[in-house]
């Protein structure tokens, strides 16, 4: 099992939720995971119902069986200062740089530097060991940028390594790339059973593969429960309206005669069923497209009432049952 688990996905697919659930799932049985946020959205804090995360590793949840989840929101500016401190013992010079706008400049504009710092920090956590020589974290889960940017984000170290041909940034980038392209890393993609996210997943996987980044699993999120099955939907097309009206009436929903309360329900209910059928076919097709990719495929249920802490634990349990951890 890879120790760095990167979670990406199209915007709106719930990748932060899946990343958090995965961190919880991996933390069971006394394991310790670090959940890393790189985009400064404080999505993790919202999910775990805590105040905004600082730039420091902090325990945010306990998993069944005594495991622990730590979280870290990486701030690229602070990460750069950290880094300068570590390599150059800059101290006040670092602050002077900040004042000049150099840090801001370096993290925003300098090509890929920002991304090297983010991935570098995550890789550092992966490799970190405590005094007894044990890994500080069993797993590091990264809530990464969306599918459209993930390859560039992870591959940026390559680019920087080519650009900065010597110097510490170059070395750092090389070291990070070795971790990212090794079996130590797995990049998972979160999707929905809809055309656009599925297409993005297919494209994203092709891009990751051509950059030789290790693709992990596909996680289909927010899967709606099956209310009507294929046979029901077949029947929807052929069933006489009057029989549905009588059935509704027998359930106590009013008269089945033309214009009766039950009878007036038939058309709207059948319309909803037709819409459901259209979606059903579409989802079926999209699932087939995903299956074709030949990667481990997992499905997580939709929580109609919205995601909360209880839902998160539920998703973690689901992931464990599906053998993700």
């Amino acid at each position: 099992m890879s120790r760095l688990q990167v979670v990406s996905g199209k915007g709106g697919t719930g990748k932060t939720t899946v990343a958090a659930a995965l961190a919880l799932a991996l933390a069971t049985e006394g394991k310790r995971t670090l959940l890393v946020e790189v985009e400064g959205r404080q999505g993790i804090a919202q999910l775990f119902e805590t105040e905004a995360l600082p730039y420091e590793e902090r325990k945010i949840a306990v998993a069944p069986g005594g495991g622990e989840v730590y979280a870290l929101a990486i701030d690229p500016e602070l990460a750069l200062l950290d880094y300068l401190q570590m390599f150059y013992k800059l101290g006040s010079a670092g602050r002077a740089l900040k004042k000049l706008g150099a840090i801001d400049f370096a993290t925003t504009i300098a090509p890929g530097l920002r991304d090297v710092l983010l991935t570098g920090k995550a890789c550092e956590a992966v490799r970190r060991k405590d005094r007894s020589g044990r890994f500080a974290y069993d797993y590091v889960v990264m809530d990464a940028p969306p599918t459209g940017r993930i390859t560039r984000f992870l591959n940026v170290n390559d680019e920087v390594a080519g650009l900065a041909k010597i110097g510490p940034i170059h070395n750092q980038a090389q070291a990070v790339m070795r971790v990212l392209k090794s079996p130590e890393t797995a990049v998972h993609l979160v999707t929905l059973l809809e055309e656009m996210p599925v297409q993005e997943t297919v494209d994203g996987i092709a891009e990751l593969r051509s950059a030789r980044l290790p693709v992990g699993r596909i996680i289909v999120n927010m899967v709606r429960p099956e209310v009507l099955d294929a046979a029901d939907l077949e029947l929807v097309r052929t069933v006489p309206r009057s029989t549905v009206a009588r059935s509704l009436s027998s359930a106590g929903l009013g008269g089945a005669r033309r214009g009766g309360r039950a009878e007036r329900l038939v058309d709207p209910l059948l319309t909803q069923a037709e819409e459901y059928a259209e979606r059903y076919t579409l989802e079926h097709d999209q699932r087939a497209v995903l299956t074709e990719l030949g990667l481990p495929l997992h499905e997580l249920p939709l929580f109609a009432e919205g995601m909360d802490l209880a839902g998160l634990y539920e998703l973690a349990r689901e992931l464990r049952e599906q053998g993700v951890s």
Binding site: L84, L97, A110, R114, R152, E195, S247, S250, A251, G255
Partner: protein, 471 residues
């Protein structure tokens, strides 16, 4: 461009609580004073599709429109009959041009846009030097902020060409709504700022020879950056920045001009959202931000709103009725004679409810009937024919789900409206599938404008005479 709408409540097919104000899309699109429409919002809410649908609708109402998309799904490009959108506006064929309108579409190519700026502002030799600079190549290929900056740059270009009377812009899928407004300014100030001037100083003064003119603080700083980035990269940056600076300095000026363009009266911002907690939270944030920046907000497009034609039947009643229908019944299969269920309803209007039913009920085994009934149900489950009752129960469960969804969406929407009653809202009914062609986009356009069409025609102010348009 919006006003309280007394008429909006009674469309039985799409019943939603009336929002405080209704956003009238058509007057906005038809008004010749509207020159730029910016669609913004968080990822995955249908921003690009909304932009394309608005473009089509405006074009079919006689305007000459260009839609600038940032990263359209392939299907969307195809839906406009263009297999691969590129950095040049392409005419979309197949629209109804009887009103004299045109639709053009293009996709932002960041690198191409950046290259074009360089080519336009530098002599060929210098342009070649910049284009070949490794720092430039990375920067233009799209690191944080470049996409947003280039989108704004392209918008400025399109506006300056004055070839179209309406430009509809889709915004980049940023990590947050803020990037879109911030990045141009940030990029502008970086490239124009103190640091850049420090970095460019040696190069301007003639490379290494110039270094000795720098004071100690400066050389320490470039020294540090040099150590950090590697000397060669720093040199690349210096060469790049000075080349950029001498050829078309004033990134800041351009960024400011674009920013002012967004604040100008001819611009309308549409915040796009879906009726979900996170998307609307982001939308609220955007509304506040636009107000703080004096950007003209036209309203909120609420995509994928669900309705129901049977919304008088509550979720609770539908579920109760479904359970009633699913109750295990005693069925005499051998005789083929269905027996009335033991339900307590007083139904008596049309004879035996199951007399036309093709098969005995196959209640799901998990429904927990008595062992005897389970045995019978197992047997009947083998029967491939389905009972209408079971289907009806499914229809009712589906309806209950829809009603629950509907009320959640209303709650989320109402929370937004309570926070921002000043924001006009238009709701777009959810489609079961994705858009594949112009007809699909047209359908979305109709849904976007549906609020307005429910108003009596006479209440519509004539295009261009709306008081808001000149505000």
């Amino acid at each position: 461009m919006s006003r309280p709408d007394p008429a909006h409540t009674h469309d039985p097919a799409r019943h939603h609580l009336p929002p405080a104000r209704v956003l009238d899309i058509d007057p906005l699109l038809e008004d010749p004073k509207t020159r730029i429409v910016v669609c913004c919002g968080s990822g995955g809410v249908g921003k690009t599709t909304t932009a394309a649908a608005l473009g089509l609708r405006a074009a079919e109402r006689g305007r000459k429109v260009v839609v600038l998309t940032i990263d359209p799904a392939r299907r969307l490009a195809q839906s406009m009959g263009i297999d691969s959108l590129d950095n040049t506006p392409r005419r979309v064929k197949g629209i109804d041009d009887s009103a004299g309108g045109e639709l053009h579409a293009m996709m932002l190519d960041m690198k191409r846009t950046f290259d074009e700026i360089v080519e336009a502002h530098a002599d060929p030799e210098r342009a070649a030097a910049i284009l070949g600079n490794p720092f430039y190549q990375s920067l233009s290929a799209g690191f944080a902020g470049t996409q947003e900056y280039m989108a704004m740059e392209k918008l400025g270009q399109l506006r300056a060409r004055d070839e179209w009377d309406l430009i509809i812009v889709d915004t980049p899928p940023s990590r947050s709504a803020l990037d879109f407004l911030d990045a141009p300014k940030r990029l502008g100030s970086f490239l124009d700022g103190r640091l850049i001037r420090l970095l460019t100083a040696p190069a301007k003064l003639g490379g290494r020879a110039g270094m000795k003119f720098l004071n100690v603080g400066m050389s320490m700083m470039t020294g540090t950056l040099g150590k950090l980035l590697g000397g060669q990269l720093l040199k690349d940056v210096q060469t790049f920045v000075s080349a950029m600076d001498t050829t078309f300095g004033g990134f800041r000026t351009r960024a400011d001009a674009t920013y002012k363009l967004l604040q100008a009266p001819g611009t309308a911002f549409l915040v796009v959202a879906a009726p979900e907690r996170d998307a609307l939270r982001e939308a609220a944030y955007f509304v506040e931000r636009l107000a703080a920046e004096d950007m003209p907000l036209a309203g909120l497009v609420l995509n994928r709103v669900h309705g129901s034609g049977a919304d008088r039947l509550s979720a609770e009643r539908a579920l109760a009725a479904a359970e009633n229908l699913e109750e295990p019944r005693i069925v005499d299969q051998e005789g083929g004679k269905a027996v009335l269920r033991n339900s307590p309803d007083t139904y008596n209007s049309s004879g035996s409810p199951t007399s036309e039913t093709p098969a005995p009920a196959a209640a799901p085994a998990s429904d927990g009937g008595s062992p005897a009934e389970d045995a019978e149900n197992t047997e009947s489950a083998e029967n491939t024919e389905r009972s209408v009752d079971q289907l009806t129960a499914g229809l009712l469960r589906l309806h209950a789900e829809r009603m629950q969804l509907l009320s959640r969406e209303q709650r989320t929407r109402d929370r937004f409206t309570a926070l921002h009653p000043e924001v006009a809202v238009t709701e777009v009914g959810a489609l079961p599938g994705d858009v594949h062609d112009l007809a699909g986009l047209r359908d979305i356009g109709d849904r976007l404008a549906a609020n307005e069409r429910e108003l009596p025609e006479t209440e519509l102010p004539e295009a261009g005479t709306r008081p808001e348009a000149s505000a």
